[in-house]
Symmetry: C2
Subunit: 365 residues, 2 copies
């Protein structure tokens, strides 16, 4: 069977080689004769899996020893609480609200301290990254907070805010491993794995150890969410999502073997340029994000009517192009073109967009 | 390759049929041409998976509509915080401390209210279930709390405490689906899946809706842990562990197809009787749990010296009997004989125990 072109926003397409490798050893992992699913997290065989996954991620991202790496459960949503509970020592965070999940994160943080909205693009329907606050705006705060790529709206920060020395916390769920970045620009970054790093059920968190070594800022922090305790236990304070971490490790190895973040960044820029080029040349499709804020990971556009959008999604699915419906909060079309989505898939989508436009308007682009 | 006899305490052996089925459809799930790992949790195909998993569990356990079912992340450990945050409306819980995880749960609950220890077997090294408190001891409390099976020590409640109308909360991680039970005896029960229900990374929680419909007791409860919000969203407040739930559903179907909880209970009793019989007949092995508190899921025993115990574990592994080392807190030998461990595996273990005893003492039993 031909694999569909999967443009889902997450859980999303995974590298075929990773899946085939996991399938091949599904019943006999590391010569144990058992599935990795059946292997104790305390076994030597599994210890090698989680250690190798962390080492591979450290190499891919260039993570220095002064940063810890955690593989947690509960998704980004649980970290929306975990972050203020760990970091809000002075009780203040500065949030930039560039989309739904940025807003939800700020609302969650406000339950644990003062989450001050320093900038928002909500008035324009989150069609852009808002103008960044001046560094002084972060003075006296525990951290500044951004959602670096806004999956729903298809926008992305193309430069980080200057927080004037205050640590920057970033939800990078949908742009994790999408391009090179300097980990030391962040105090903490975290990502739900189900977009670019692996399956759902794992949240990868990279944190400057100095921010958390004193233990959680708030006494109400559940032990599970105590980053210092989790770091001390190597993400094994309790049984982790063993299979999820195993698959993430394979994805990290795949990224390394495919040229690393430099190559990912070039490929993703090329894929995004193809798609945005089609949108811009078209008379039918209208991009949702202002061009200077466009995401390289999620390309969002609209057709003139919801009926046409449904027809677009349905006819695309009939041609093996799946997962193109926009998020239920906004509708429209969204093509998520994460690392595992190849340029051929994007070319197929552009060809479909051309033929669809021709069929609807009698013109193509 | 012959599958080892896997006596791990969790992640533990899974039914071979479940694994083979998952492997067979690993690259083409429900005719989508994609892996279930790549399938959006919002897709119709995945909706059917999670709905069927819940329906299957409801049938297996006889869960009435007045109880909700959740598939959460973070393991039992995260629920040690989630439970008091949701239920401690009056700020008091009555804990029976029968082992390490019962103690940890009480310590975590004490961070959110008054977690009163009504009974403990710590003075005797958790070798038994302590004498149960009188029903009046639970008066005025939000809930009574037990860990129904103590994985580390190999003990199990053979009758539930009478809480005199106060809801009973039970961590059933290592005896989940092991025998028939009446869900309405509990206000809430929960289980890390990695023993009897599926892979690690899923925590199944069954709760009397009336206890949580008013929302969390404590304002500091993270939204992720808000049971009422999770119930309203069908465990999809955010992206769940999609692959883990998919596998749990297959395990629930396997339990149903293998005779349900009645059959599981009979098989488990037979397996446990075989093993305890061997321990009791032997001069070399000494059971850890007092007989009236013995677990049907985890059989713990000791040899005269740690050196002999290491030799036992190593020689057993050489014969394909793996995962027999006791928990690092207590040492000794532990054979976890969950549902997926067949009676043949237990017979092989007993035969090995006989031959090991013969080789050490010159006598067998």
């Amino acid at each position: 069977m031909v694999r569909p072109r999967n443009f889902s926003a997450g859980p999303a397409q995974m590298p075929e080689d990773v899946l085939l490798s996991a399938q091949a050893e599904f019943m006999d992992f590391a010569g144990t004769g058992m599935s990795v699913l059946e292997t104790s997290h305390r076994s030597a065989a599994y210890r090698r899996v989680i250690d190798a996954a962390e080492a591979s991620l450290r190499e891919v991202m260039g993570i220095p020893d002064s940063y810890g790496v955690l593989f947690l459960q509960g998704g980004a949503t649980l970290e929306f609480a975990g972050i203020p509970m760990n970091l809000m020592r002075r009780g203040r965070a500065g949030h930039i609200v560039s989309g739904h999940f940025a807003k939800v994160a700020a609302e969650e943080a406000a339950r644990y301290g003062s989450a001050e909205i320093l900038a928002t693009s909500e008035p324009t329907g989150f069609d852009r990254i808002p103008d960044l606050p001046a560094p002084e705006a972060f003075a006296g705060m525990d951290y500044g907070y951004i959602c670096q790529n806004n999956t729903i709206y298809g926008t992305m920060f193309h430069g980080l805010p200057d927080c004037g020395g205050t640590p920057l916390v970033a939800d990078v769920s949908s742009c994790f491993l999408s391009f090179p970045l300097d980990v030391t620009d962040y105090g903490l970054l975290f990502a739900g794995a189900q977009k670019n790093a692996g399956p759902s059920g794992v949240c990868v968190l990279v944190v400057d150890r100095s921010l958390v070594e004193a233990g959680p800022a708030l006494g109400v922090c559940p032990t599970y969410l105590d980053y210092s305790a989790q770091l001390a236990k190597g993400s094994m304070l309790n049984t982790p999502n063993t299979f999820g971490i195993y698959l993430c490790g394979k994805v990290f190895d795949w990224v390394r073997g495919t040229g690393g973040l430099e190559a990912m960044g070039e490929r993703n820029a090329e894929k995004a340029a193809l798609l945005y080029g089609a949108v811009d040349r078209s008379d039918l499709y209208r991009g949702c994000a202002v061009p200077s804020s466009r995401s390289v990971a999620n390309v969002t556009f609209r057709l003139p009517t919801p009926e046409l959008e449904r027809e677009f999604v349905d006819r695309a699915a009939g041609q093996g192009l799946v997962g193109l419906a926009g998020h239920r909060l906004v509708g429209g079309i969204r093509a998520s073109i994460y690392n595992a989505v190849g340029i051929d898939a994007v070319r197929d989508l552009v060809a479909f967009m051309e033929s669809f436009e021709l069929s609807v308007t009698g013109r193509s682009f």
